[in-house]
């Protein structure tokens, strides 16, 4: 859950970073132009820019001169000497530079009229048409002139023209190269964040999904665990083998159709595996029996997945595991006792007892259970018994304990967080729970226990052969 949250937060941060980066290059990007305005001062009709003002921000400038009330206005560019010579003694407004990014500094350009000169009255003279200008334009109201800077002291003169003319307002517009230095770094960082976040999120979701799958059933298994431990009574003689015995009874009404039928076929082919009665049951859960009875010799002996997980999880939980195992063993023992009581077959020799002593017709295949080959045949079964589910749950727990390693694997995607185990799983419990004689209360009880997982202790007790499990499962699959 935390991983999902963290992943979500990272994705969010990444998106925000990308958005910030994009925004820095779009919405927040500095304007492509600098627009500065000069309001004329004094009572002249002319506005003159100082040399260098035209190229203040960049080489290209667009000058817009606006005269009040649509008066004619003329804008010209010439050499500073020529412009000032043309202006002569008339008062004018002098643009000296930028005050801020929006405003130009304007000064009164002409001192008091020289002595003897007639009062320098605004003349409204029109500079248009002089031979000296290298650029000029005249319009009514608003005149616009584009100018590309050249070396030299080029000066702009804007004049209101005509009687009662007033100096125009200048607006200088420069294009500006706006850098977007944060765009790609921010987008890159954002993408990285998003990817990392997504990875975390996926891990979280997978884990969550597996938990969801297991969730409700896990609860049941948890309940069954303790239940098993509730029966510690005098199971002193209980051994794994004993515990396994009932499993071989093959009276379970639920399982036979699926698991037993193919198993029966297998039985005939592999009698040797059955010969060792003590092991036969274990073989079902891929316990030590495989090793002990030389199931290895069959070459195909394979530990049922559920069994692996089961044992693995138990091994992981070590100390309690042992207890549980014992408890289960005890329970199984009792179970076995029931079965024994109900059936003629001696509990001590499960395999042999199971095989011939099967009261119900469905039991015949039971001996075959130890044989791993049939497993695949059951793989198509979609149903999971509680024991299987518990096995899954435990496997999941074990997997969770993998913590970081598992997460990393999940990130790389090479190995699923939880192995799909459903195909193999059903077999295990089915077999272990099968052989109950439902005709007797004890048998039914045993079947019930087996069904509800109490009997699994017996099967699970087989887990004493954890060493074998470790070699196969851990070595290969994990």
């Amino acid at each position: 859950m935390l991983q999902r949250i963290l992943g979500g937060v990272l994705v969010l941060l990444g998106l925000v970073a990308v958005a910030l980066g994009v925004a820095s290059a779009t919405v927040w990007r500095d304007s492509d132009t600098v627009v500065a305005t000069a309001e004329p001062v004094g009572d002249g009709t002319m506005v003159v820019t100082d040399p260098g003002v035209l190229g203040l921000v960049s080489g290209d400038v667009t000058v817009t001169a606006t005269a009040p009330e649509g008066q004619p206005v003329t804008v010209v560019v010439g050499r500073d000497v020529d412009v000032l010579g043309w202006v002569g003694k008339d008062p004018y407004s002098r643009v000296t530079g930028l005050q801020d990014w929006d405003t130009l500094t304007v000064e009164a350009g002409q001192a008091a009229p020289a002595d003897g000169e007639e009062e320098a009255a605004p003349s409204g003279a029109n500079p248009a048409g002089s031979d000296m200008w290298i650029a000029e334009t005249s319009e009514d109201g608003t005149a616009t002139l584009r100018w590309s800077d050249q070396p030299g002291r080029w000066t702009l003169l804007a004049a209101g023209v005509g009687e009662d003319a007033q100096a125009p307002t200048l607006e200088l517009t420069w294009p500006r190269a706006v850098a977007t230095p944060y765009l790609w770094p921010a987008v890159g960082a954002g993408v990285v964040l998003v990817l990392v976040g997504l990875a975390l999120f996926v891990v979280g979701v997978r884990r969550g999904r597996s938990r969801k799958d297991d969730g409700p059933r896990g609860g049941a298994s948890l309940a069954s665990g303790p239940t098993g431990t509730d029966e510690p009574d005098g199971a002193t003689s209980g051994s794994p083998d004993d515990g396994a015995t009932p499993a071989s009874d093959g009276t379970n009404p639920f399982a036979p159709v699926r698991a037993a039928a193919p198993a029966a076929a297998a039985t005939t082919t592999l009698p040797p595996a059955v010969s060792d009665g003590a092991v036969s049951d274990e073989a079902v859960s891929a316990g030590p029996g495989d090793r002990a009875d030389g199931a290895d010799s069959s070459g195909t002996a394979e530990v049922p997945l559920a069994g692996r997980l089961l044992r693995r999880s138990r091994r992981r939980t070590d100390a309690p595991d042992a207890v549980v195992a014992d408890a289960h063993a005890d329970a199984a023992d009792a179970h076995a006792a029931d079965a024994t009581a109900a059936e003629p077959a001696p509990a001590g020799v499960p395999a042999s007892a199971a095989t011939p002593g099967t009261p119900s017709g469905t039991v015949a295949p039971q001996p075959a259970l130890p044989v791993p080959e049939p497993r695949p045949a059951t793989g198509s079964a979609p149903y999971l018994s509680r024991r299987e589910l518990r096995a899954q749950e435990e496997a999941r727990r074990a997997a969770e304990q993998g913590g970081m390693t598992r997460m990393l694997r999940a990130i790389t995607g090479s190995i699923p967080a939880v192995r799909p185990q459903s195909p193999a799983d059903p077999a295990t419990p089915a077999e272990s729970a099968e052989a109950h004689d439902l005709s007797t209360p004890a048998g039914r009880a045993a079947a019930w226990r087996a069904t509800w997982g109490f009997g699994q202790g017996a099967t699970g007790a087989a887990g004493t052969a954890t060493t074998h499990d470790a070699t196969t499962t851990d070595g290969e699959n994990r």
């Binding site: 941060l13 927040w28 100082d50 003002v53 500073d80 930028l98 002291r153």
Partner: protein
Amino acid sequence: MNRRTTRRGLAAASAVVVSAALLAGCADELPQPQAGEPFEGPVLTKEQNTEVLNAVATTLGEADKKRQPSALKPRVTGPALEVRKSQLHVAEELDNDEFVTDVPSASQQMIIPTTETWPRTSFSITEQTEDFLTPRLVALDQDSARGEYRMWAWVQLIPKVVMPAFADTGIGSEAVAADDDSLVATPADALAQYADLVTLGSEKSSFAKGFELPEGDLVSRVQTDAKNVRETPGFEDADGEYSVKFGARKGEVRAVRTADGGALVMGVLDGKSSLTVEEGGEVPPFTETQEALLGDVDPTNELEVGYTDMVALYVPAKGSDEKMRALGYSHVATAASN
């Protein structure tokens, strides 16, 4: 969960850095105007000067077409205006444009001043005319900053004359004052000497040594005319007297530096020729121009013709081996009376 907190911390830190950098990006310094180097070159570009010449030619063309002297004013001034007015008047009188000097606008060489003050004078050597007459040398004057360049004078270059070299239009040529003493003679003096030469002829004038007079220049033109008049049959018998007097008009001098340190000088010579015969005699005007200028009057025993002659001289720098040289002239009668 240290790892997570670290990661969150990193994310937060990077967010802070990004936003801080964004804010920092908004604070650029205000640029200050960088005034370039002062202009030193020509006051007009070649293109501008071409425009000027075209404007002048346009004005001349329209005025010529209408034979309307007042139409000249925007682009013609000084002696040029004076002469042109007279020419248009004559053309009107004669209903003939033959004696109106053709001034082409196309320029084969521009001589653009570097003068930062006013007046400014630029010069242009035009191409040949459509009639394959010699190129004209035109002086254009801008008397004030708010004024236009106007044609101040023109001369027809003397055929085969060697023109001095001028600075390139991209460099500009320095104006030379009328009293500039870096030359073998100041421009004003040079004009005065030349006027004396024109008046007296190269044989009598004391300034003849200082001048190199190409064949066909104003001196020979005036003196030849005088000789022709005096040798007219019956001139002696009628007690005819013919005198010619030319003088440089003061203040009407424009000069520009040549590449070799000399100067091209243009000026105006006011000339007057007087012809007197015995009482009762009649002196008819010699030319159609004089006739037109004279108007509808009966001839008398006197004839005075006034000339406004624009001349161009090359005045070498002081210490030069070269002599002053006449480059061209415009000899136009502008007044006549009897």
